[in-house]
């Protein structure tokens, strides 16, 4: 079970590093609006997916992991936002932090649905974890492909 989650986390981080490399290589082409949009989408999805994977990997330490996820989202947003100017820096930091908080919340509700007053699901824990690992890979891949194709259009 852990091997799937660890490999999922590494695949998603590899996607993120590749996306940063591609966006950083051609940053002289940006105008203001495209810098804002690219920072917004990249930092939101990367923060969300990284926080969700990390929470599924360590579900027992809520306090420390929430703080780490928030700081991780802020660091991702700062990294992507510092490519252009102050406007994209603010957008990246804010949306990365929001993505980190939201991924932590989604992971907490997934692992224990009684937080929101839902009844326990019929599925086992392994099926839930495999489902959300595959969903995170799909979301990350589709977002990266859409962001890369924006240079063609």
């Amino acid at each position: 079970m852990h091997i799937i989650l660890i490999s999922t986390t590494f695949i998603n981080l590899t996607f993120g590093v590749w996306l940063y490399y591609v966006l950083n290589k051609s940053r002289v082409l940006y105008n203001d609006r495209f810098g804002f949009t690219a920072t917004f989408s990249a930092s939101s999805t990367l923060g969300l997916i990284a926080a969700l994977n990390l929470f599924l990997l360590f579900p027992d330490h809520f306090e420390i992991l929430g703080m780490i996820n928030l700081l991780l989202g802020i660091c991702i947003g700062w990294l992507f936002g510092s490519m252009l100017n102050a406007q994209s820096l603010i957008a990246g930091i804010y949306n990365g932090g929001i993505g980190g908080i939201m991924g932590t919340m989604a992971g907490a509700v997934i692992m224990n649905p009684a937080i929101c007053g839902l009844p326990a699901t019929a599925l086992t824990e392994q099926q839930i974890i495999i489902f959300f690992a595959l969903l995170s890979i799909c979301i990350q891949g589709i977002s990266a492909i859409l962001l890369i194709f924006s240079f063609r259009a």
């Binding site: 999805t45 969300l48 007053g117 009844p119 859409l146």
Partner: protein, 138 residues
């Protein structure tokens, strides 16, 4: 929760379809600021409505509800953003995805009364009306 809240699905989809047809005829006159706001509001509203209604109809299926809301929100954002620009498409897609992950939790936390659902529907439909009127003025 009563069973007739399933009638909110056709209401949402039909009003979004009418809004799409209405904006499609006027898409050359709308600038990209208004276009970005149209894509964000349409994608977020559709994802919110779909997630809240679906988690109240089937409280046992959390995963399928989340997947359904995410797919509906993303497709709505892509369709509405594709009218204007590529960056509008990206913005609508991301906003639909985030609201789709958020919406089943909101619906599950407020699963007591029917009044909240009716207020959410009024909010979404009035947002669509404001979008249509702002597209009419431009």
């Amino acid at each position: 929760m009563p069973e007739w809240i399933i009638l909110f699905y056709p209401l949402n989809f039909f009003s979004a379809y009418i809004l799409y047809i209405y904006i499609y005829n006027r898409r050359k006159q709308i600038g990209f600021h208004l276009g970005m706001n149209i894509a964000m509001v349409a994608a977020g509203g559709m994802a919110l409505g779909t997630g809240i209604i679906s988690i109240n109809l089937y409280p046992l299926y959390f995963l399928e509800t989340t997947l359904f809301a995410v797919v509906i929100g993303s497709i709505t954002g892509i369709l509405f953003g594709n009218l204007f620009d590529y960056q509008t498409l990206l913005t609508g897609y991301i906003n639909g995805l985030m609201m789709g992950i958020m919406a089943p939790m909101v619906g599950a936390a407020a699963s007591e009364g029917i009044l909240f659902l009716i207020m959410i529907e009024v909010f979404i439909i009035s947002c669509f009306f404001i979008l249509a009127s702002s597209a009419y003025k431009s």
